[in-house]
Symmetry: C2
Subunit: 344 residues, 2 copies
């Protein structure tokens, strides 16, 4: 029988925090106990899981991590930075959904199906990638192994749920107001999102790219173990509730044909090739929301350049892009049980 | 004084037809008379222009074109194919917004600021390009002249108005129903559009691309006079009412730097470089709707490849992508007065 561990969810009241609880239950994660932690304003809140278990939210203070083996953190970079040392000091491992540690050399950044072997190198922190990056590297990994990816051009179509529950509420309210012909305030985004597109996600960096775009670029390189991979990105927020979509153009270093590419994608774990244009079948965000796999469709050769393809990728940004990937990291961690500290 | 001509709008009750009337007025097009033509079900309808002139819709039959010098047609490919010979026979010129004649060798396909010189070669038909293609070639033309475009990768974010008035009504109704948690029918698109993305515009062709994608590819080549231009496209419908957006990656054959690119874009007629990321300023569809120019922002070097840039382009698909471009073709036609048939 698998050993059971004490688990905490840090940031338990957010979009990803709630889904973490749901997915831990769904997948029967071997948790002896699950503690829900959040900031003072949420302390005392009762959260009932889909399997009808009730949890009382407790304060996310250092002492809360006494006896905790694994912390799934999704409370932002600042909170993770502050509490990670406290978690590690107490013998726990933090699987962190924020961008705080992702590019730190001694922190594994992991999609288990892509670079699960990196988990073993952890020193108490394992980082969960950006929500657009996780599905992309999952789709690229086996293609890269077989045909060597030469260059990638990505344009994203990202849903509002990536920006939190408030952002989803804002899309609802702003859409209602807009349909009634009324003006509306906005604060979740820097511009109005209802029936609009915002070509900015996160803040800008010195090279004119947004942090979101640079995350996709840098995190892909790290997880694919291709530090010099040529990859560029334009990240755009769209008025969709859940699921991020990506238009992806990939050039390969070796000769490819469409059949081999298809075969490789079909063999990729947790990827569904949903591609039957005769029946108008391809992935769409509203239909992918709530599902676990990464969906790929509209696969075709790019006739403008040799050995190049176009495809359309959709995945639930809260699941494979966040909570599900974190839980999968936790499962792998338990399997290898490597430097999982003394408490295990 | 400029000679005045008799004008007809074919498909006068649609999105583009109504805007054609508005723009002819706005720009004081030298029309002696304007006749509004449509199918039998719209005959007798009274349309009042923004300048408060009333027009009665007449039947689009061959005889309606007696004495007409210029026909602005936006009633679909089938109607244009049927009526073009009748218009030409009566000495008129048809400026056609449908895809019926665009790729015919003896038909000029024109964005006046890009290849206005092609108008003179017309034989009674001048084609107006696809609504995503017109702004793209406008943005690329001067760049191509100065730096020679080597390859273009485009991902589009296209509004529903490109699919007609019914599609706009469907987005309104479907969004309302969706916000109320109710199901809704759809018929303007092959899948539900509310809070969703549909990676299919028009039907599929044998190579796995949609007709919309192939239009952008083939029409760009024709208008830029670059029949072998390497260009690929993924076209996606988004839940936005008006304005098409495009994420564009362009590789050049010669050395480029960002300053020269900016300078060239600023010098491009009817293009506005709206690009101040410090102030979070870049074009967005809801703000561009109703405006004439093509807007470009998020301009930056693509660090994944030499001499390559990324930018974000937004334009009102009903204006520069359709009605405005058609009227500009009409204005150029009057200027050159070349083979404008005997009636002029």
């Amino acid at each position: 029988m698998q050993e059971q561990v004490n688990v905490a969810i840090l940031g338990a009241t957010g979009n990803v925090g709630r889904l973490l609880l749901e997915i831990l239950e769904e997948r029967n994660f071997p948790a002896k106990s699950i503690k829900l932690l959040a900031s003072p304003r949420s302390v005392g809140m009762i959260i009932t899981s889909p399997k009808n278990k009730s949890y009382t939210v407790e304060l996310a203070c250092p002492e809360a991590f006494d006896g905790i083996d694994i912390v799934f953190a999704s409370a932002g970079a600042k909170v993770s930075q502050e509490l990670a040392p406290e978690i590690i000091k107490r013998g726990g491992v933090i699987i962190d959904n924020s961008s705080a540690f992702r590019m730190q050399e001694d922190v594994p950044l992991v999609v288990p199906q892509v670079n699960g072997e990196d988990i073993a190198k952890h020193k108490g922190i394992i980082a969960n990638p950006n929500c657009s990056t996780a599905p992309l590297v999952l789709a690229l990994k086996k293609l890269d192994e077989k045909f060597k990816v030469k260059r990638v051009v990505v344009s994203t179509y990202q849903s509002v749920s990536g920006a939190g529950k408030e952002a989803m509420d804002e899309l609802t309210l702003a859409s209602q107001k807009s349909l009634e012909g009324k003006s509306h305030d906005y604060k979740a985004f820097v511009h109005p999102i209802a029936f609009n597109l915002i070509p900015q996600i996160d803040v800008f960096t010195d090279n004119g790219y947004t942090k979101e775009e640079m995350k996709l670029i840098n995190e892909s390189r790290k997880m694919l173990h291709r530090p010099d991979l040529a990859i560029t990105c334009t990240a755009v927020r769209v008025p969709v509730f859940i699921s991020h979509s990506e238009s992806v153009n990939v050039e390969f270093a070796s000769n490819v044909n469409l059949e081999d590419i298809k075969k490789t994608l079909v063999e990729t774990p947790d990827l569904v090739l949903e591609d039957n244009i005769k029946e108008k079948i391809y992935p769409m965000p509203a239909m992918v929301a709530g599902k676990d796999p990464v969906y790929v469709g509209r696969l075709r050769l790019d006739e403008s350049q040799a050995n190049t393809i176009n495809f359309w990728l959709v995945s639930d940004n809260l699941r494979i892009g966040a909570a599900l990937n974190a839980v999968k990291i936790g499962e792998e961690l338990l399997k290898i049980r490597a430097p999982l500290a003394k408490t295990l």
